[in-house]
Symmetry: C2
């Protein structure tokens, strides 16, 4: 495949913008344009060269786009868009509602098979790279435990909960993996841990004028479900500090598999992501899987796939010969 793979972006929020940037780092990919539900004239892209079209005009592009990267949300966009577009295009999404993956897969598979197209769902890092590491860990060390830790990362739901407290002018909340729990797992202790024991919570709060800091701290750390079960730290900061230091969307986490290959012989696999930008990293993964999807489609494959179904070599622009010589 010496021709460039022609890619369309559907939806232009943080994820779509990240995909636009990522395509610019991959010389074997060519960005056809962004397809938006908004008025194209109202969409300002990262690069002034990026073309913007109305999503309603996608039908004109069936012959000039090799793969669409779907950048909508998992709650309401992707459950409709992925099956709908898989009927006519090779598509990739980052659907991340774990509990609804089987349902989404079935709907997308039916549409993709009927249309004779390839669809890759649930790429990204969790689901995605973390899922792959859970699978490898379990397959290689069948006698053992898998641990997934998230963070340090911004949690939108918990940040919202802080902002609803009277007297709070602004706030963000980071989920942190518990250092103590990680230490025990890394040491091969194979502890029994709940998600709560694995995570701590750190809050950065801007007070309204005259608000009672002690009362607000107490309201936070005793809030049921959200903060009470966790080791929660509260920092009060200024509005300037909030804007300056907490505008990014860092995230990441760990997947551990710790098991015994024979009695008393412990083997530990650790996979860690430390991400300055959660959406940009997810975008980077989407783009690599878009390459794989286009290649699968060119090879005659059909139907829905997940990262579990895709040979890793398809993600790389390098040929199999190059990969074996340079990276094996």
């Amino acid at each position: 495949m010496t021709d460039r793979i022609r890619v369309g972006i559907v939806g232009y929020g943080n994820l779509g913008r990240g995909v636009e940037t990522s395509i610019g780092l991959n010389p074997d990919l060519e960005l056809v344009g962004v397809f938006s539900r908004r008025d194209p004239l109202s969409v300002t892209t990262a690069s002034p060269d990026t073309k913007v079209y109305a999503i309603a005009d996608l039908g004109d592009f069936t012959g000039s786009v090799d793969v669409l990267i779907l950048c909508g949300g998992s709650k309401s966009d992707l459950p409709e868009q992925t099956p709908e577009l898989a009927a006519n295009f090779t598509v990739v999404d980052s659907f991340d509602t774990h509990a609804k993956v089987p349902e989404h897969f079935a709907a997308v598979d039916a549409a993709a098979v009927a249309g004779g197209n390839v669809a890759v769902i649930s790429t990204g890092w969790d689901p995605g790279l973390f899922s792959l590491n859970r699978l490898f860990g379990e397959a290689i060390l069948p006698q053992g435990n898998t641990y997934t830790f998230w963070g340090r990362g911004l949690s939108q739901g918990h940040s919202d909960a802080l902002r609803r407290i009277p007297g709070v002018a602004g706030a963000v909340q980071y989920t942190l993996p518990s250092e103590d729990a990680i230490g025990r797992v890394r040491a091969g202790e194979n502890p029994e841990l709940t998600t709560r024991e694995q995570h701590d919570r750190e809050c950065f709060v801007v007070l309204e004028d005259g608000a009672d800091a002690d009362l607000i701290r107490e309201t936070i750390v005793t809030m049921p479900d959200y903060f009470e079960p966790y080791d929660t730290t509260v920092h009060f900061i200024s509005a300037e500090e909030l804007a300056r230091d907490h505008a990014g969307m860092p995230h990441g986490g760990f997947v551990f598999r710790s098991g015994e290959s024979s009695p008393g012989v412990t083997q530990t696999i650790e996979y860690r992501l430390a991400l300055d930008s959660n959406p940009e990293f997810t975008s980077s993964v989407l783009v690599a899987y878009a390459r794989a999807a286009a290649r699968l489609a060119a090879g005659g494959a059909k139907g829905a796939h997940t990262p579990f179904d895709i040979a890793p070599g398809l993600l790389s622009p390098k040929s199999p010969e190059q990969l074996r010589a340079e990276l094996l």
Copy 2:
């Protein structure tokens, strides 16, 4: 595939013994037996139930073995055995001479294609899992650097160099990843590092009676190529301590990919193995790839494969539906 996959082990050293143990942890696999160049009666297996046959009798098993796991060495065994056996069997090996992978692949592929069989080469952890992480890192973060660190792990070649020094009664050498270098990579500095800067060396030495410890320490730390270029620590211990504390074969290491998804936005992927037993872990990986090889063969695939060519889902005993529901 509800029937168990029938596996044969070719060669019975540390790796073959590890494979034998690992098969016992995988209920979907059945061990047909060990095939050895030695007199079968002279081979004592980990389990008394394991059958041992002469490798010369392998021809009788073409219909009763689904996959052979080749546990010989990369220097002289596998370059001959893998192509030879791929002519008549589905085979998996852990060929680990990086520079000779293309040559080995070509020889094995020719034999496997001619015989209509599947061969999977260079499984294990490096090559193998580390290679996969180098590939994923590069494909997802095209603008960045990849770092491979090995250790803490026993190095046979460096241990031998110590034992050749007059006055040394016994010794082992561990290669250690440099904590300083790892810290710089983890912090996203993207430093330029040579393999030497990435590793330290730790020696445990038993002196002969009357040997001069200071002289031997000096001989070690100034030894060209082996120790002089590295930060080398020498510990003198007793023969009892050597036998008690240094009989294992621990190993492991790290693969890092650190890159920018846009200017100033650093993303870091870290993969770490901490292994109590290098051969047992390699064996565990071989066994998971044996499952994949048998499934590829059952699906009609032919020719040589590496871990780059194998969809991760094939490694797991779980069905695609189960994997999507439980691990994605």
